[in-house]
Subunit: 179 residues, 2 copies
Amino acid sequence: MDPVLGHCWLQALLAEAAEPGAPTRPCSCPLPSGDTALSRLVRRLLSARRSLDLCLFSFSSPQLARAVQLLHRRGVRVRLVTDAQYMGLHGSQIGRLRHAGIQVRHDQHSGYMHHKFAIVDRRMLITGSLNWTTQAIQNNRENVLVVEDADYVKAFQDEFERIWEEYNPANYSFLSERQ
Amino acid sequence: MDPVLGHCWLQALLAEAAEPGAPTRPCSCPLPSGDTALSRLVRRLLSARRSLDLCLFSFSSPQLARAVQLLHRRGVRVRLVTDAQYMGLHGSQIGRLRHAGIQVRHDQHSGYMHHKFAIVDRRMLITGSLNWTTQAIQNNRENVLVVEDADYVKAFQDEFERIWEEYNPANYSFLSERQ
């Protein structure tokens, strides 16, 4: 069992996504398997074929980071917007995702970029109260909505595109420029 | 202008809700008026006639607290679930709402009660990333969804009822009982 992932079902999901149809090793560990809120979220993400737009205040879950990296390796266009103050916190996965070649942009505000949503293939919106952190997944009371209604998806996609452009590094200003 | 509320449009909205049809005093102050995200949220809340179920991680906005108090005074049944660790923070409105006679229940977990949703008359769900704090309203990038689809509303109403029962003070345990 992968000590970082911890969950055999996730290993199986990722293995199947990476190499569809390949045999998976049986597992007899006592960890939860099958249908959990996290496994359902991962399945939705892994359904991406063309694009994954992520707008996440805080991202420290290694499981979700692995799923995102797999999509990136599979050729899905992944874009990630996050909060400048939270991306540097201990356990953040942002550095790892950047290192893997995923495009990341962040705010320059004192306020938070507090959204927590994902859009799969510009057709499925995943949003709610859940930050993508292990603390939130394991210990909090949270909600995640999955919405395919085109009007809702469009409103969030438009917000994503606005933020993506607004946080373009070409627009960043630095202290020396502000003086 | 009310120094706590600060916004004339909100004064006007609350006055109209408290006493429909009464003349409102004209206002020439330079503050934002009319249609803002906060005014739209307050309007949705003030449309409640029978019930308002609130499930809020953090609640420090005096404007939103005033709207909730007005509904309570108008005879709407208000129930509020919140997070034990956040309800005691500086600026929290929970004490004020309790003092006004509104029923409040909270978790007893180390994890957060991290939901941020409201259900108006068991028919309109208001949910998203927004905590009901002045910081979030004024400074953050946030989203608020308003949903009247019965399936979505029911899922959140069921979660509210589960939490409301689970956090019943009759079920609280105290340190001396745990030993």
